[in-house]
Amino acid sequence: MERVKTGIPGLDEMLQGGFLPQTANLIEGAPGTGKTTLGMQFIYHGIVACGEPGLILTFEEFPQQYYNDATNFGWDFRQMEREGKLRIVMTSPEVSKADLEAVGGRIEGLIQETGAKRVLVDSISHFERLSEEPTQLRSIIHSFVNALKREGLTTVLTRESIALLGDSEGTDDALAFLVDTYILLRYVEIESAIRKALLVLKMRGSNHDRGIRQFEITSRGIDVRAPFEGREGIMSGSPRRMVDSFVQAFVRR
């Protein structure tokens, strides 16, 4: 089956080649884990390696912030905008949703003008202010995600997680049901140092690597590396060595 490559070393292998076309793919993580970087790399790779123009819908950061961040990785987003291969749109959830629902809206116009195939929505967390009622919020996000699929886009949605280490409490999992792929980015404390872990929790319609991998943000973007070995409880944020768990479970009884 055709795949939409992220261009992130290690991640595409975990996804059996990449995302499925015209799907919504959620990246969730604490501040600084690399959600936006992963999304920008997905957009950048589409433009330079796959000939697929991209769109970034931002609900918080100004386009200038993306230009600056991209420059740090050697990605010239400003030039890509000049060449009509990228559009960075600062907007709000309520306006972008209404715009996509309307016939011949501005976002639809930008998609047609550029021929965009990929979109980064940064971040879907901002939709939470549109409704406090979970069922209604789910319906709002469902409609938004479907509108992006209707436009033929493969979407990366970022979502903020409050907890810096371990599981985030109080996260509404309705979104997890709506998306096709659910990727978690986590901080992990190992021997008094913070490392980063990536897990593909769900991938609808495809097999995927279920391992918990280490990753780094390098000068060229995200690099997903080998799985954590000899440790358990990685996603708790404070993993233990498996040998310690074994001793605790059997030897000391």
Partner: protein, 130 residues
Amino acid sequence: MEEKMNEKELDLTGRLMADMDPGLLDFLQTKVNSFVKWDLVRFFHDNPHTTDTADNIARYAGRSIDTIRTELADLTRDGVLEENQLGEMTVYSLAPDPHTRNLLEQFVRASDDRQFRVKAIYHIIRGTRQ
């Protein structure tokens, strides 16, 4: 005495504006004649694809909604912005007119020059006092 001061001031204005591009001068005098409008046109220049409500634009610009409402209406009347209905929301975006966009580009580029900024600020202060 006061008359003499005004004459002196007019002379200074004349000298300050003399070497300004006539197109830019007109843009400054008729469209960007307040600091809030300056902020708003700069915002739309940097975010040319933004379409949003007055409330959200106020938030992006770090101004209160009461401060920007009239200014958005003026910029719309003067053809710099465009006002549309999106469902129940009134939204603003940059007008597509290439001539206006070109003037805006020139204005923002010129604003990067300190000399130009001094002249523009002087003009706006004078304009608000009149």
